[in-house]
Symmetry: C3
Subunit: 139 residues, 3 copies
């Protein structure tokens, strides 16, 4: 059994902008030489999240539209009183979606569906430079 920790870095667009990281994870998986196990995809930060989606232009608008319904940008957030910032919605959305995703793999291949991609979701109100942790466990 092996444990190998890697990191991806990339830049993002705000308020629900998504980055498809599937092929990068597959590349890193190949480099590890591990055949069967899990990769933990983890966001080290409180205003980003990770999930899977069919990565196509329509859903890249539909998902942020849903976030706007559940945590609107035009209401008051107490978070703004603490820091004088504007990203209260970013935080509550990130906590709801969650910062970790676990994807199993076998024969060095992620066990995703055909139309399913792993995405980092930027929830902050400005573009960011981001780090994403990938940790592979298996044999």
């Amino acid at each position: 059994m092996e444990v190998i920790t890697r990191e991806l870095t990339f830049s993002t667009s705000p308020d629900g902008g998504m980055v498809d990281v599937t092929s990068k994870i597959e590349e890193e998986l190949k480099k590890t030489g591990i055949k069967e196990g899990i990769v933990t995809v983890f966001v080290p930060g409180a205003t980003g999240a990770v999930s899977t989606i069919e990565y196509e232009p329509g859903l890249l608008k539909d998902f942020p539209a849903m976030l706007e319904r559940i945590a609107p940008s035009d209401i008051h957030y107490h978070h703004h009183e603490t820091w004088g910032c504007d990203n209260g919605r970013s935080h509550v959305r990130a906590t709801l979606i969650g910062p970790s995703l676990t994807v199993p793999f076998k024969n060095s291949k992620l066990l995703l569906g055909t139309w399913q991609q792993v995405v980092f979701i930027e929830l902050d109100t400005r573009p960011r430079q981001r780090r994403l942790i990938l940790q592979f466990i298996g044999k």
Copy 2:
């Protein structure tokens, strides 16, 4: 340490229909012979999700009712323009809930609460035949 990958298959009912897979996971766990570790429960698809719930008839209605509030069936989804389909709500709901769940076990028993079951949640707009990945890691 061992890594063992299994698969469940079952049919579903649409728009929030849930399938209690707890006893199937426990059966597969027993067969592996692994005593202590985690099972990753993973949906290989973009319109299903996995979580836990107290599996009783009331909540099987209440949870879909909540999904209808946050991603209504009667609004426009850009996803429909891409494919001419009708399941935009299914996709955004699935991404929000998430496709992976990690459940720890010890002494060959899932460490669930007494009133807590592992459920596959069908979010598509039609009944489906589904696969669910189970991957056990432990010793």
Copy 3:
């Protein structure tokens, strides 16, 4: 490779009350002697959840306010008919957020962001005494 299962216990406040368990997890991690791997943080129950957040007083109000929008306390839940209870909102909120979180660590340190804490989220309608499972896998 090692698998070590631990448990935290604590008391909570209802309807979105959060408990920052980050330093407790770090303490337990140090005791295991495992350097690199994952900790699975799991809620054995159907009315609590786990995620990460910037643990500051503003967000401790903003996150429950969002939950109230998506699963209001003043609507009818079918769950109440089953048991004569009042916590239908607790259940649907818990299923949406999810009971499991996986956090990677390296050099015996959780790979969290600077402003990111691991929190148990009490969703029940009354204060509870809670157990939280921590399972460390790594080497």
